[in-house]
């Protein structure tokens, strides 16, 4: 592999973490639920995924149990913010703090252990094309799975009845209820789906992208995923592009170092966060566009009793 091939292939791998988590958050936000616990859900799933894979030797098992863990955490959020009508921002933060603690507890005995990365999929014929093959067609299966998910979610949200129901809950829950949709069921489902996707993202981070467990290894990637949903103005295709862009930024750190520039590593580590802030400011500056695309009732508690 040439350095450029390595960089581009690495970008796809790094982007998958962002993409999975951001897609899950997109679905939750489309239903009106702002779940800020993504970082925590990813941390728990990363720990669970690592421990299960380490013990069973099966990456599939690791992913499956990590997804279950992600769903469980998201259901705590759903219970407090949907059933108990608590403020979504505060609840998301609370669940996030709780999950970060739990992830440290789960992974305590596994600190700094490593496992083997799963085999990459060599897509027949295509993977043998020079340059394009090593970049696009010699990836882990989850990389393709994430892209497929993006297509499916985009289709489901925009073209199906279920997608319409989800969006209705996010735009105007009162109206959705009047159309005899059960707002709480749909929101629970959307949040749980977000938990599952965060679970996959966490498992991918700790068992495929960097197959090791270290406390705090998610390192803000869950928050970047939340920001990506805003960057993508709640559109699947733009979120996809954003995830790949941030995959590239993450890899940029390695590139700059390998090219031998004498930049302190701390500046490179801080770069994704600085870029997030800058992009966030640029995208948000166009308020009318943001208002047009953001789910109208995003983050608002719906108690079903008051007229809106």
């Amino acid at each position: 592999m040439t350095p450029l091939e390595f960089f581009l292939a690495g970008t796809m791998s790094a982007a998958t973490v962002f993409l999975l988590a951001a897609l899950g958050e997109l679905v939750a936000e489309k239903s009106g639920m702002l779940n800020l616990g993504v970082e925590g859900m990813m941390a728990i799933s990363a720990a669970v995924g690592f421990v299960v894979t380490y013990q069973t030797g099966s990456h599939t098992m690791g992913f499956a149990i990590a997804a279950v863990a992600g769903i469980c955490v998201s259901l705590i959020f759903a219970l407090v913010s949907i059933t108990f009508l608590a403020n979504q921002v505060a609840t998301g933060l609370a669940v996030g703090i709780l999950s970060l603690g739990v992830s440290a507890l789960i992974g305590k005995k596994y600190e700094s252990l490593t496992i083997n990365a799963p085999d990459t999929v060599f897509i027949p014929v295509l993977s043998e094309i020079p340059f394009i093959g090593p970049v696009f067609f010699q990836q882990n299966i989850v990389v393709y799975g994430a892209i497929l998910m993006a297509v499916l979610i985009g289709f489901c949200l925009n073209k199906t009845r279920l997608g319409l129901a989800i969006r209705a809950c996010g735009e105007n829950p009162k109206a959705a209820e009047a159309l005899s949709y059960s707002v709480w069921k749909i929101r629970y489902g959307a949040v749980a789906f977000g938990g599952m996707m965060a679970g996959f993202a966490g498992a991918y981070a700790s068992t495929v992208y960097t197959p090791l467990w270290a406390d705090g290894m998610i390192a803000g990637r869950g928050w970047i995923a939340v920001a990506l949903v805003v960057f993508g103005t709640w559109k699947t295709s733009r979120i996809f592009l954003g995830a790949y862009l941030f995959g590239m930024v993450t890899l940029g750190e390695l590139v700059v170092q390998s090219l031998g520039f004498a930049v302190p590593s701390q500046f490179l580590t801080a770069m994704p966060f600085v870029i997030t802030i800058v992009v966030l400011a640029i995208i948000s500056a166009d308020m009318s566009r943001l208002r047009l695309h953001a789910p109208y009732s995003l983050g608002e508690t719906y108690d079903g009793s008051e007229p809106r």
Partner: protein, 363 residues
């Protein structure tokens, strides 16, 4: 759903006071279950958490050492939370305060001037305010979500800290540890009692609490903030500036967090090092909520969480409990608090009863 909440005509006063205690009770119950699953002794653990912190004068002084920064930051954060301005980057503002304050002892290593400490307080406050001002500016000018910006800024601040500690500010005699030299006495708060780490910086959070109480409960500026949080449309109609609220909440928080960071380097730590914040920026969010976002409540909540922190240190030794258990306990406290708070505004109704009522009123 089998049950539903029905809105009360007015928030229940007794429940506002009961909520923190309910959440503590539920949290203790849940964590007991978790402890039993892990095969830990409940008696040893809770003894370590709630009794050992009061067993010696030293332990009690350590409680108050934690109490200061938690109280200071939580009071400031609560102002923003009441205005629905979500500054969750107190951690970063604290780091920047600590960094700016440390610049004096780092560059004037030998000076014993009495002006050093006041200058450090001012620089600490400015550092925190400057960092918070970035978020305020981006929110007001570019509408950028303050939750994400303050959080990202914390990560950036942490990297700046690491850069300084591994590079220009590293103690040349420090065996390559990422920390500055120990500060001279003139750059440290004098201890209240000789031999203990508790120092006079405790006065600042106490004064600040009084200021916040007057500002939020008796001053028009605080009233404007609260209205902006409860009824944004009413606030706009009344002509209260929403960008003013953003600036006020964030600058006050930056001020408090910056001074808290300064008091750590000029207090118990005595130098700038990686773990300068001890996670106070996040714990303060929990303190603010557990105290019902009210200055008096926060005073007690800060004390309670300080006990938990010190108790956690003891539990680490006597009950062999991992340090993460304190974080879990804190997270549970906030989750259960938020869930219990529902009962302040709502009452619990079985679904059937609710439906019957609606139907009868329709007729």
């Amino acid at each position: 759903m089998l049950f539903q909440f029905e809105k009360r005509s007015a928030p229940s006063k007794p429940l506002i006071f009961a909520t923190p205690f309910i959440s503590i009770a539920v949290t203790v119950l849940l964590s007991s279950t978790m402890l039993l699953i892990q095969g830990k002794s409940l008696q040893t653990t809770f003894y370590a958490f709630f009794v050992e912190p009061f067993e010696s004068t030293y332990a009690i002084s350590e409680i108050f050492l934690k109490f200061g920064p938690l109280l200071l930051i939580a009071q400031a954060l609560a102002i923003g939370f009441r205005a629905k301005i979500w500054n969750i980057g107190a951690e970063g503002q604290m780091i920047m305060g600590a960094i700016l304050a440390s610049s004096i002892p780092v560059y004037f290593t030998d000076s014993e001037s009495i002006l050093i400490l006041p200058a450090m307080i001012i620089l600490g406050a400015l550092g925190g305010m400057a960092w918070a001002a970035i978020a305020a500016f981006l929110k007001v000018r570019f509408n950028a979500n303050e939750i994400l910006v303050t959080l990202m800024l914390s990560s950036v601040a942490l990297q700046i800290l690491y850069y300084l500690l591994l590079g220009p500010w590293k103690d040349p005699m420090g065996f390559n540890f990422p920390q500055t030299t120990m500060f001279q006495d003139a750059a440290l708060f004098p201890p209240i009692i000789f031999g203990f780490r508790l120092n006079y910086s405790l006065i600042i959070p106490l004064l600040f609490t009084v200021f916040v109480w007057i500002y939020m409960e008796r001053h028009f500026g605080g009233f404007q903030l609260v209205v902006g949080g409860l009824a944004p449309n009413a606030a706009t109609y009344a002509g209260y500036s929403s960008s003013g609220a953003v600036w006020k909440s964030l600058l006050i928080a930056g001020f408090a967090a910056g001074i808290a960071g300064m008091s750590e380097v000029a207090g118990p730590i005595g130098q700038l090092q990686r773990s300068v914040t001890s996670g106070y920026g996040y714990s303060a969010i929990i303190v603010a909520y557990l105290g019902g976002l009210h200055p008096v409540g926060i005073f007690f909540a800060a004390f309670f969480l300080s006990v938990i922190h010190i108790g956690g240190d003891y539990a680490l030794v006597t009950a062999e409990l991992p340090i993460s258990s304190v974080h879990i306990f804190q997270g549970l406290l906030l989750v259960t608090y938020l869930a219990s708070y529902t009962f302040v505004n709502y009452r619990f109704r079985p679904r059937k009863a609710l439906r019957e009522r609606i139907e009868s009123s329709a007729i």
